[in-house]
Symmetry: C2
Subunit: 548 residues, 2 copies
């Protein structure tokens, strides 16, 4: 039922879609009169082909039942209508439906279970939490047991000690109280110390804003910077669709720059410059540059000299650098390492007052993968006290982020150290997760590259592969015939045949005329061979069916 | 320093303030040409008098240090500038400064500690969490101990059983995974059952959206309903400033209706009608009515027949009823009880498709007071599937609310029952908190009513008193002389003299020319006599100083 409703609303949207904020702008022939016109025409085509199929007459009758209620699709905020978030979009809705069917009628589909490879949600696929982190959280949730003798037998000594330390940092030891709107000061001290240890440059606890995951932090910055459609945010294409969704919700314009698939999703400063100039010439005031490093969905890790160029570009052009660094612990190749943009900027001699830089971090990613805890922070540097005050004010309207998430954010930035009782088990758990992720990334990448018409860059970091598929002409025609984007058509067929859930590339943006999907590397390692064989078998069948 | 920055930004705002969304509207002579013109002229005066004092030259030099950074006050989203949230505003910033001074130099002020009566944050003032709830949260955070023998000695049997039940409701028992964007289905089942038990009418788990506290839920609805300044939301005056802040952030218009202080903050349907008609005549499309019951900051509990009138009004006028019911457990007088608006509407025969109603609930209030957990939900009824789909989409952009908050929301709607091992201790803890709050409310109300020039309605519910102060003419002149609202002037003096933090009435809105403050009833009971004597002594001195 929900699916039909979704389809109806999508049809009402007609040509509005993920990039509508660009395309609907009054001045925005932006991407049809420039040197990028081919891309943009194809972008338009992308918009048309993602419109959903089969407007069902049943949805008409459903809507009419609610005819006496006041809120209609044409009377809600159009920015909400415009917003799309493919990671939990149509394919996932279909997956949930199949899952319910499997529960009711086991054997009703050619697979036993749905395998969610659509989202970076490690623990949903069996990854176990880091024991030390959970010990500390449990003790902080129920401090009454801290002094009990049985607790010694159940919890590590350093988790008990850490819980005491944290409670001492919380006014009144009240883990059930609202905190300072930026988060508990003592926890921010710990996080700042962790950043200093990571970067080798000072960090100020007053620059830290603890948030319910990185997403609310991104929203806060978009809300701050966006006055109207005339304000633009430079975003990579492909991008994590939180950015396009947030820009749409706040009424701004997404200014795309393309990562170059042929050079391992390279970021070319010349492309940034071109896109910036094109946007400017159309009256767009570009406010910020989003960089996701390691990349999502693309998995590349930026080289330090590339980061220096980006910093210089932002400095020169007066752009805020919004650095999505939530995958900073997820690096899988020996020839790459993570450098925070703040470290890079400081190494270049740029101080607090030289460059405006926001770094986003989350407890949901890394080796910890604590998505359900909704913890994270942003480190806000290079903004005047008046602007900082405005950010604080917006944070204060929602009072504070959840305290367990705050505690966890402090733990990931200050994990057990050599000599602590938990250090050995902590290290073993961490290393096992990261090395297994590296092996899974490699195996899946090799398997994908072995498929007909598929090419896939290696995942240097993050949690995803983003293979490109050369779809046969007949498959594209079949997709067009049901008014579906070809990559969505492929992903739907894959799901129906195998139970594997991936996200079509059109949800992230891609060079028009190319087709991709995003697949996480998160299924447990012993499941990977079966996944590869199911995927391979499906793909062969699909290509056989549609080969010209 | 932060204070100076805040003042500078406020001065830049000039006449923009809490009701600016009304006043700046192109068509909005709304409140100066109507029968309510006296109120509105005074409202304008309120706007002017809340402008902050002493634009400091030091803020000029601070700002210039950041001259090479790109983001300036005049280049950020003006809706962010407009937004105000007095509960964590100027007085609280001053309180934090004094607290730091006390820490560095004990004895530097005529009090030992800051007493935060500005915010409904019970555990920050020593209220203890309900043991059963924290046991379950701790066990869900660290399920590895569930099977250990020591756990039996540390945790109640029913908390262990409940933790197992909850884990069984979570796919893969993964408390560290993102959940369904509306929240874990099994927990929504529990909440829906709790609503049914409370109301005696069916509740659907698919109507429940679990959120990080009630505030994000309110933002979601404001975001959905607000297209432009031409969309209005009817809000009580005085109101909890989340509403004015959220309306400002989403670019809508606050349409005020006044609660009648003389009749115990009564809600008159005739006033609602007048305000609605006036707004309509100015081109405002009024979308929704906010009702806070029990009231914040006003503490009244609506009578059922008054609620029926409100439901009929919304039905007739095609308004969404946004029912803030977060204080549903906080009732202190025997002659009043809580009725949810859904129960009232269903009792009147209005079904799902007859009225659009959103009820907000939170784990932060009630007897539980778990503010730091950021849990809550909204029950969304009377919206078509297409609209529901849009709400779901916006929820999905932020993935999900935190799982501990979700679990806690299920616990408060399904606490221990007679026969459970924890029932006795749970009941004792709950009753002790609620009966103590009732006594505190009564004592503080009586004390306030004993002060010269102060009148205070009883707190029938919620967590606040909102006394009115007849300020001497000289005090008002002294406040005007430093460009401060008289009630802010009073609150600042109170803080500097006693360490007691209250929120000036101007932060909530009040009939212009009247002055109030909001004071929580949350300090622990043994502290109340000292607070009363400090407040009484201060008030006498203040009145003596300014008496004509």
């Amino acid at each position: 039922m929900r699916k039909f409703a979704a389809e109806k609303s999508r049809n009402l949207l007609a040509h509005r879609e993920i990039f509508s904020s660009v395309l609907q702008h009054p001045t925005a022939s932006l991407y049809s009169s420039s040197s990028h016109s081919k891309k943009s025409q194809l972008l338009l085509r992308f918009l048309n082909t993602t419109a959903a199929p089969n407007p069902s007459s049943s949805s008409e009758s459903m809507a009419s039942d609610y005819s006496s209620t006041p809120v209609k699709l044409d009377s809600i905020n159009p920015k909400v209508l415009e917003c799309e978030y493919a990671v939990r979009g149509e394919i996932v809705t279909l997956a949930q439906k199949l899952q319910e069917e499997l529960k009711k009628n086991p054997g009703s589909h050619p697979f036993d279970e749905i395998l969610y490879c659509n989202i970076g949600n490690p623990q949903s696929l069996g990854q176990q939490p880091i024991t030390f982190f959970r010990e500390v959280l449990a003790l902080c949730d129920h401090p009454a047991i801290l002094d009990k003798s049985e607790t010694q037998g159940l919890f590590s000594a350093d988790s008990i000690e850490r819980a005491f330390q944290i409670l001492d940092q919380i006014p009144g030891r009240a883990t059930g109280a609202y905190s300072h709107s930026q988060g508990i000061k003592g926890l921010r001290d710990t996080i700042a110390a962790g950043i200093e240890a990571r970067d080798g440059f000072p960090a100020d606890p007053n620059d830290i804003f603890l948030t319910d995951g990185a997403s609310p932090a991104v929203h806060m910055m978009m809300q701050l910077l966006t006055r109207s459609k005339n304000d633009g945010i430079l975003c990579p294409i492909p991008q994590y669709p939180l950015y396009s969704a947030s820009i749409a919700l706040h009424g701004g314009t997404l200014v795309p720059y393309y990562l170059d698939e042929a050079t391992g999703w390279g970021l070319e400063i010349s492309d940034l410059k071109n896109q910036l100039e094109t946007a400017k010439s159309k009256g767009i005031s570009v406010r910020a540059l989003v960089v996701i490093n390691p990349g999502n969905p693309t998995g590349q890790v930026l080289a330090e000299n590339n980061q220096q160029q980006i910093v210089d570009f932002c400095k020169k052009e007066g752009l805020v650098l919004l650095a999505d660094e939530v995958y900073q612990e997820n690096i899988y190749v020996p020839d790459k390492q993570f450098h925070s943009f703040k470290k890079v900027a400081r190494s270049m001699g740029y101080g607090e007052k030289d460059i405006s830089l926001v770094s986003f971090q989350s407890v949901s990613k890394g080796y910890y993968g604590e998505c359900g805890k909704r913890g994270g922070y942003m480190e806000v540097t290079g903004f005047s006290p008046e602007i900082r005050e405005q950010i604080y004010k917006v944070a204060s309207v929602n009072l504070c982020s959840n305290i367990s998430g705050q505690i966890l954010a402090s733990l990931i930035m200050n994990p057990p150290k050599v000599g602590d009782e938990s250090y050995e088990s902590y290290s073993a758990e961490k290393d096992a997760i990261l090395s297994s992720l590296a092996r899974r990334a490699k195996k899946l990448e090799e398997a994908l590259n072995g498929l007909e018409g598929v090419t896939c860059n290696r995942a240097e970091g993050a949690m995803y592969l983003f293979p490109r598929i050369e779809l046969p002409k007949k498959a594209i025609e079949a997709a067009n015939a049901v008014n579906t984007a070809p990559d969505t058509f492929y992903a739907r067929r894959l799901l129906n045949a195998t139970g594997i859930v991936v996200v079509p590339g059109s949800g992230f943006g891609q060079v028009p005329g190319t087709w991709h999907f995003r697949c996480t590397i998160l299924p447990q390692e012993d499941r990977i061979p079966a996944i590869i064989s199911r995927l391979t078998e499906f793909h062969k069948g699909f290509m056989d069916e549609f080969r010209g």
